[in-house]
Amino acid sequence: MANDHGTQALRLVDKLLAERPDKVTHDFSAATRCLTAFRDDLVEDWRANRSEAARERMAKANAVISVIVGGHYPRGDIPWQHILEARKQLATLV
């Protein structure tokens, strides 16, 4: 399940990066919802195993969400370079 949500989130972030919309669109919400579902799966995993690896995956997913949400609600231009870095991080988790 975790990888389903993660894969879907990666696909949606890739779509955002490919299209790079100038204005914030609802696509960001779709990506965020998948990412938070992915994080929920990782939380479940961590609660079940309490392993260091599970905790690290959870923390990294949280960092990715911070960047994507910052792109959804930017303070100026959308930080595409940061989103690209976050995408790389996400890819390591999926």
């Binding site: 609802h26 919400s29 929920d40 923390a59 930017p74």
Partner: protein
């Protein structure tokens, strides 16, 4: 300006506030100004008690304030009624702007630098010619190509370019004349609906009461701020006051009326996402803020008072991280969270709906009633894992899962909502000690009168003990991510059975102290950037200058014949200065503009500034001092003795703002995002830089939508305060305002066959509510561009809890934000109405 300084005003304009009903204590000073012969003006869509006590009531359609104020600016300029000696010396009216500057006048409502693709402005063409102007706001640096900091250093090399003859086509004076040319009295009437004759009476009142001998003031509240261009409304007033010389002088100024308990304090020691205490910038995740050194390099401006930023930042880090903060580790700067985007309330409400947040603390707030788009707020709350609400009576936010609108409509079922709600009882104001900072930046201590009952605790108790438990929880962690909590100093003394933290100790830390001797600091001028001082908020330094000397406790007013600044009454930041920029109360040579309006002046014999207020200026800097540009002066050395506006890069009042604003250097009239009319001034309909977040559940309609033909505004009541619960649970208050209502003009009521006390359904693109009709002549239709436009108004203070109940007005409002502040729009939107009830039975608000 100080609240009580209003008595020195010869003209008080209340605009964006129903001051008599919502700020009755403050309004006493307006009444006294009138008693002394001053003219009182109320500019407002409704005729209220404020209007009844004013000499002039100027009715305007909600949201058209910039058209009105723009008309005042044009009147001042075209009739040459500005205070020339003041404005030429102290404002940037003669400064020359870049050749590439394009005004909104030239491009149908849009300035140069606008990027259509993303709705953002670049600021290159707004700058002073050949220079880059650092902003005095927390976000100091403008959006310009290339190296902004290099351009900012030009201020250390020479004076900004000026044309004292005011003939240069790109000097600010000429730009303003062109910009406001179309804001004629005729246009003001077409847009605002205010008759020209009334508008001109206001112009005359303002201009006749300004100059060397007379001053005027503006008072505003959220009727100015809660718009998609709220910052620019206030900007328009600053231009009026800068031109008329009503800044830094007795009876002159723009008074921000604070309507919530300690709302000024929560901006100072902030709950705002983008600022650290007392207006320091919150670091961001950008590369230039990676280390303290990089942060300070990027954020420290070359000239003006903000050049002192490193002293304030390092002292703050020392207050937070204590001995652990050293020069070698960048004073633990890495522990400070870094922003990744706009984390203000509106976008975070939407992010909550997307499941980003797992939990939320709600203290002193009731967002189901007070935030916009109430249904979407409920949806967000239903996505949380946990919710902590602290209040002294049950709120709609705490029981949304049981009685909420979505539950009532059957869209959510309590058993399906996974949010675990912790409702914790809190102490009331008289059951705890501490400070409140409100209007006038006045920090006032209040004592505890009695213990709170049962398990009720102060917010300070809750936050302190939560912090203690978090530190305990992470005490043994070896993870780097937990270091900030482990390192944070959290050692306030407690007393009594419940271990109540000592609020005075918190204020002592906010004031600041020396690291070596632990002695309290007297002034922020003692702060250092070497780690030898600690300070929780530099602007508050001086509030607690001795271990047992709490200035906020002081209650010594001036007697009759006294100075009138009442400096013994509590403490006003900064440095107990009651009137900001009060160097402007003297002419460039340091002499008062007039005997009647003297406040601060240069004492040549003593070689210092003196007066009836603490000078908001370097005490020993003579009026004749000029920067020695051969030495590339920085900080205050670059600000001359004739430049009162010390927070600005050039010490001048900015009539034209080259940096710091996201939607234009001059206020420009746009229609609200939702409006029943087209913008008759420009082709550009609404603020081009507005923050829109369209999504299902937050629909926004196009202009002139026949489904929503009426202007809708909200306000509060004398009897019921803000989110309402604190007063709705009081029987005597509830008896005075027992249920929700909407105010409708007789003309609109007649058109719909509505009689007084009939049920009415109000609808917007977000939802529907039902309330009783109050048919009253306080509301009136407006003629806008030849068309009749009706306006209705409703108090936003009701909900389903307490004795006084009613549907929630903010259900109707959409989530979109001012580009500068992300503040919501509550004062000018649209609705429809019909006689009758909601289709679904048992409307939640009316107590059935």
């Amino acid at each position: 300006m100080a609240l009580w300084d209003l008595v020195n005003s010869d003209c008080v304009v209340v605009m964006g506030s129903n001051m008599a009903e919502n700020h009755p204590v403050a309004f006493r000073f307006v009444v006294e100004a009138a008693r002394r012969g001053g003219t009182v003006v109320h500019v407002d869509p409704r005729f209220t008690r404020t209007s009844a006590l004013a000499n002039i009531h100027a009715p305007i359609r909600s949201g058209t304030d910039i058209a009105f104020l723009g008309g005042v600016i044009r009147y001042i300029l075209e009739n040459d009624l500005w205070f020339r000696d003041f404005a030429m010396a102290y404002t940037n009216i003669a400064t020359i702007i870049e050749d590439g500057y394009g005004d909104a006048e030239d491009n149908d409502g849009i300035f140069s630098g606008f990027e259509v693709k993303n709705g953002n402005y670049k600021h290159d063409t707004w700058q002073y010619k050949g220079e880059v102007v650092a902003s005095s706001l927390a976000e100091h640096h403008p959006e310009v190509q290339g190296n902004a900091q290099e351009g900012e250093k030009e201020f250390t090399r020479h004076k900004p370019p000026r044309d004292e003859t005011l003939q240069h086509p790109n000097c600010v004076y000429q730009i303003m004349r062109r910009h406001f040319q179309r804001y004629t009295p005729e246009m003001v009437e077409r847009v605002t609906g205010c008759p020209q004759s009334v508008f001109l009476r206001v112009c005359e009142a303002l201009t006749k009461n300004s100059g060397r001998e007379r001053t005027g003031a503006f008072c505003y509240a959220v009727g100015w701020t809660h718009h998609s261009y709220g910052v620019q409304i206030i900007r328009a007033a600053t231009i009026v006051q800068g031109l008329l010389g009503n800044v830094g002088r007795p009876g002159g100024g723009i008074l921000a009326l604070r309507g919530h308990c300690s709302i000024q304090g929560s901006t100072d020691i902030p709950t705002l996402f983008n600022m650290l205490p007392t207006y320091l910038p919150q670091p961001t995740a950008s590369e230039s803020h990676a280390t303290l050194q990089e942060f300070l390099h990027a954020e420290t401006v070359p000239t003006g008072w903000w050049h002192n930023l490193p002293k304030y930042m390092v002292s703050l880090l020392k207050a937070w991280y204590g001995d652990a903060a050293t020069q070698n580790n960048g004073f633990c700067y890495e522990y400070v969270p870094k922003n990744t985007g706009d984390h203000s309330q509106l976008p975070m409400t939407l992010a909550m709906v997307d499941g980003v947040m797992k939990g939320q603390f709600i203290l002193g707030q009731n967002p189901v009633v007070g935030a916009v788009n109430s249904d979407l707020v409920e949806r967000g709350l239903s996505k949380l894992d946990w919710l902590v609400v602290r209040d002294f009576a049950m709120t709609e936010t705490a029981n949304f899962w049981q009685k909420g609108r979505l539950v009532q409509r059957g869209e959510l079922r309590p058993e399906d909502i996974q949010t675990e709600v912790f409702y914790l009882p809190s102490a009331m104001a008289a059951e705890k000690e501490g400070t409140m900072t409100n209007t006038t930046r006045l920090v006032q201590w209040h004592d505890k009168v009695c213990d709170p009952p049962g398990d009720c605790r102060s917010d300070l108790w809750f936050i302190y003990h939560l912090g203690k438990r978090l530190k305990q929880l992470y005490a043994d962690s070896t993870l780097p991510a937990d270091k900030p909590i482990q390192t944070l100093t959290w050692d306030y003394p407690t007393s009594g059975d419940i271990a109540e933290p000592d609020a005075a100790s918190v204020l002592r830390e906010v004031n600041g102290y020396g690291i070596a001797d632990g002695e309290q600091l007297q002034s922020f001028q003692q702060l250092k950037d070497d780690g030898s001082t600690a300070c929780g908020g530099w602007l508050y330094t001086g509030v607690f200058p001795g271990r047992h000397d709490n200035k906020s406790r002081s209650r010594t007013p001036d007697g009759p014949g006294g100075k009138g600044s009442h400096q013994g009454w509590a403490f006003a930041w900064p440095d107990n200065r009651r009137t900001l920029y009060n160097r402007a109360s003297a002419d460039p040579d340091g002499k008062p503009w007039s005997e009647r309006k003297k406040l601060v002046w240069w004492d040549a014999e003593q070689g210092e500034w003196t007066g009836t207020d603490t000078p908001d200026f370097e005490p020993g800097k003579p009026p004749q001092m000029r920067p020695d540009y051969s030495k590339h002066p920085t900080g205050m050395d670059a600000i001359g003795g004739d430049a009162p506006f010390i927070m600005e890069a050039d010490g001048k009042c900015m009539l034209f703002v080259p940096s710091g604003l996201k939607d234009g250097p001059l206020p420009t009239y746009y229609e609200p995002v939702e409006t029943p009319v087209r913008n008759v001034m420009y082709g550009q309909q609404s603020n081009p830089a507005v923050k829109l977040w369209p999504r299902p559940g937050n629909e926004i309609h196009a202009p002139e939508d026949p489904d929503y033909p009426y202007v809708f505004t909200t306000y509060r009541l004398t009897e019921l305060h803000c989110g309402g619960i604190t007063t709705r649970v009081m029987p005597h208050n509830a008896e005075l305002q027992p249920e929700a209502f909407v105010e409708i003009s007789p003309e609109l009521a007649s058109a719909h066959g509505i009689a007084n006390l009939d049920w009415v359904v109000l609808s917007s693109a977000r939802g529907e509510i039902e309330v009783k009709a109050l048919v009253t002549r306080r509301m009136r239709p407006f003629t806008v561009n030849g068309k009749t436009v009706h306006q209705v108004g409703m108090p936003w203070v009701f909900g389903w809890e307490g004795y006084a109940r009613g549907d929630i007005a903010n259900v109707l409002l959409g989530i979109f934000g001012d580009p500068n502040t992300s503040i919501h729009t509550t004062k000018a939107t649209t609705c429809n109405l019909r006689k009758g009830r909601l289709a679904h039975a048992g409307g939640i608000g009316h107590g059935q």
